[in-house]
């Protein structure tokens, strides 16, 4: 969280109108997928965004890339406010800001061969001047992600999940971006394949100085790959800090129980560990509790929690927490 932030999200809000569809017309409800979220990512760093399904972490990534039109707040990229830009004005930024998707099965167009999937952005952004150059560049990219020449003219359905994810990475890589949103890039993959992808991402960060927004539900992976980490719950950012500060000194009761719920691959440590088991389920984001979103499952509820959603407060060293327990 340094001054030379490449990307800043300021009070970002993304609300969806949800039509409850059943027989009949149904009613419209507002889903506050992202509710007033702020953070910044330093150049060349990785910001890990963790939370359980439905917490809004994916929406944050998509709103930053302007795949959704933000309801409120702004996104500042390299000093420029990109929130209100039209698609034409934003086009140069498309080259700089890329994304890697969660599901390697739906993120590649089944009708296009690998050469077209990876080559399309090159042509679109005029990064190559001839077909021969494009073919060379595609081959180079394919090799960079560890695939072979033989794979270039094949179609997505012929690859395994891990190989597909590499193709997705090559597509993002094609334009040599500065910033990449990695939206759960490994959660659909097998354990032995996950590490391959993590290593590729780390290697590219070292080589090209990429900045990542790494979205995941896996606290271990986030700890491994991130420099800074933010924790989301029901559309709210509840805690954020530098990685070791956060994992070593977590303050928000949700973060604490989330970490303690992570199973660790060490039998002795697992047996000796005191786990905080949260009661109940995450409330529906369509019908969130009043005040603090976590109060329905929190161990340390105060009377004020039901009235007011706590604001993020810096408790020192850039460690921010949104909890009434921290304020009193």
């Amino acid at each position: 969280m340094t001054a030379d932030a490449l990307l800043k999200a300021e009070n970002l809000k993304m609300f969806f109108d949800i039509r409850t569809t059943a027989l009949g017309k149904g009613s419209v409800k507002q889903l506050k997928a992202v509710n007033d979220v702020s953070f910044s990512i330093g150049k060349g760093r990785t910001f890990g965004l963790v939370g359980e399904s439905g917490c809004g972490k994916t929406t944050v990534g998509r709103t930053i890339l302007k795949l959704y039109k933000a309801t409120g707040g702004r996104v500042v990229y390299d000093g420029a406010d990109i929130t209100g830009m039209g698609e034409r004005e934003f086009f140069p930024y498309r080259r700089k800001m890329q994304m890697i998707f969660q599901d390697p099965y739906t993120s590649l167009d089944p009708r296009q061969p690998v050469s077209e999937i990876i080559g399309a952005p090159l042509t679109l952004h005029r990064l190559v001047s001839s077909n021969a150059e494009r073919a060379d560049r595609v081959r180079e990219l394919i090799h960079m992600v560890g695939l072979k020449d033989d794979h270039i003219n094949r179609y997505p359905h012929e690859f395994s999940g891990g190989q597909r994810q590499r193709i997705g990475i090559a597509r993002a890589l094609a334009m040599m971006p500065e910033f990449i949103v990695c939206d759960e890039p490994i959660s659909a993959l097998d354990v032995s394949i996950q590490a391959q992808i993590i290593n590729i991402l780390e290697e590219f960060q070292e080589r090209f100085g990429f900045t990542y927004l790494f979205i995941s539900h896996d606290l271990s992976v986030v700890r491994h790959i991130s420099h800074d980490v933010g924790v989301m719950y029901l559309g709210n950012l509840v805690e954020a800090a530098a990685v070791n500060e956060l994992y070593g000194n977590m303050k928000h009761p949700y973060t604490q129980s989330l970490l303690s719920a992570v199973p660790i691959a060490d039998p002795v440590a697992a047996r000796g560990r005191k786990r905080i088991i949260l009661e109940g389920d995450v409330p529906s984001p369509l019908d969130p509790p009043s005040g603090c979103p976590f109060r329905t499952r929190c161990r340390n509820v105060l009377p004020v929690c039901a009235q007011e959603n706590p604001k993020l407060a810096d408790i020192g060293g850039g460690h921010i927490v949104a909890c009434h327990n921290m304020l009193v």
Partner: protein, 324 residues
């Protein structure tokens, strides 16, 4: 779950200790990386369309369907030419003949040659089927495509309109239009166009919506492709399969409607011969001259069968659910 005999080579993969001792030298040396078979795809590379084509070619019923339709087209084009009769040429010396060398399918009560009339019927049926299916595909694809692609309020409004029209069985509209336009071939096509595209529009819309929600469309946006480009490069190629299948099934339906309308007397009017009209004409003498019914009935059924087989084959070949 059945128990079968052992598959060959199953046990043989284990070696006994004795056999291990007898193994030739070098077996316990490092296996060079080059000899490891990793990340190699052995199967030949096939695109969606190549795969669909080979699947279709391997489907005997669909191929039979294609052959039958080819024969029907040949009949429609060449049939009237290879016989020395006109479809409305009456000859009272040869009424109600059974099939023979002069009149392959026999003659009707006015002595008209049934083979030529059936061949004319093929012209009408195939024209109606193909024209109606094509026009409706165009309308349906444009309407459904806009609705699904634009989305939001436009989509809601457009689909409400479809719902309103669809609430009434399309046959009623078709009959009304036929009454209004009179009994001609073009009125049948126009009548079918009135409501027929609704189904196609719905399918196209659903298809576009489902593809739109796929991550590869988002990915296209992320690399900066314009909406138009996304439509042309991703949405249309991916929805083509189901659209083709739908249209294939529209053809036999249109042929059915033409025959049906002609049969109940509001389709094609005499003396022009459509299969439905021929069937209707033969009703009064059916007990005595069943062949007058047989040939048009066979022609209708075989044609619709053939188109349905082609449709089934195409669906199996193009259905994305069968593919990983």
């Amino acid at each position: 779950m059945k128990k079968t005999t052992d598959l060959p080579g199953d046990e043989a993969e284990y070696l006994t200790e004795g056999e291990i001792a007898c193994l030739p030298d070098g077996l316990f040396e490092r296996l060079p990386d080059g000899e490891k078979q990793t990340d190699v795809i052995n199967r030949p590379s096939v695109s969606y369309w190549e795969n669909a084509r080979s699947k279709l070619m391997a489907d005997p019923l669909a191929m039979a369907g294609f052959v039958v339709i080819a024969l029907m087209i040949a009949l429609a084009v060449a049939g009237p030419m290879i016989r020395p009769y006109a479809y409305d040429e009456q000859n009272y010396s040869v009424i109600n003949q059974t099939p023979d060398g002069d009149h392959w399918f026999g003659t009707d009560k006015f002595g008209r040659d049934l083979f030529v009339r059936v061949a004319y019927g093929a012209r009408i049926s195939l024209t109606v089927g193909v024209a109606a299916a094509f026009i409706n595909m165009v309308i349906g694809v444009i309407y459904g495509g806009i609705s699904g692609f634009v989305g939001g309020r436009t989509d809601m409004l457009m689909m409400r309109i479809v719902d309103i029209i669809m609430a009434v069985p399309s046959l009623l509209y078709i009959i009304l239009v036929m009454v209004f336009l009179g009994a001609h071939m073009h009125s049948i096509i126009i009548a079918l166009c009135f409501t027929y595209w609704l189904g196609t529009a719905r399918i196209v819309r659903a298809q576009i919506l489902s593809i739109k929600s796929q991550d590869f469309v988002l990915a296209a946006k992320v690399i900066g492709e314009s909406d138009l480009k996304i439509l042309l490069r991703h949405l249309i190629p991916n929805s083509m399969g189901p659209i083709i299948v739908t249209v294939t099934f529209l053809i036999p339906q249109a042929i059915f409607y033409e025959a049906f309308l002609s049969f109940i007397g509001i389709g094609i009017a005499v003396p022009v011969a459509s299969w439905g009209t021929l069937a209707n004409d033969s009703l009064s003498n059916m007990n005595t001259y069943p062949h007058l019914m047989l040939f048009p009935a066979l022609a209708i059924s075989i044609t619709i069968f053939a188109f349905n087989f082609i449709g089934d084959g195409l669906r199996d070949a193009l259905d994305p659910r069968l593919k990983r």
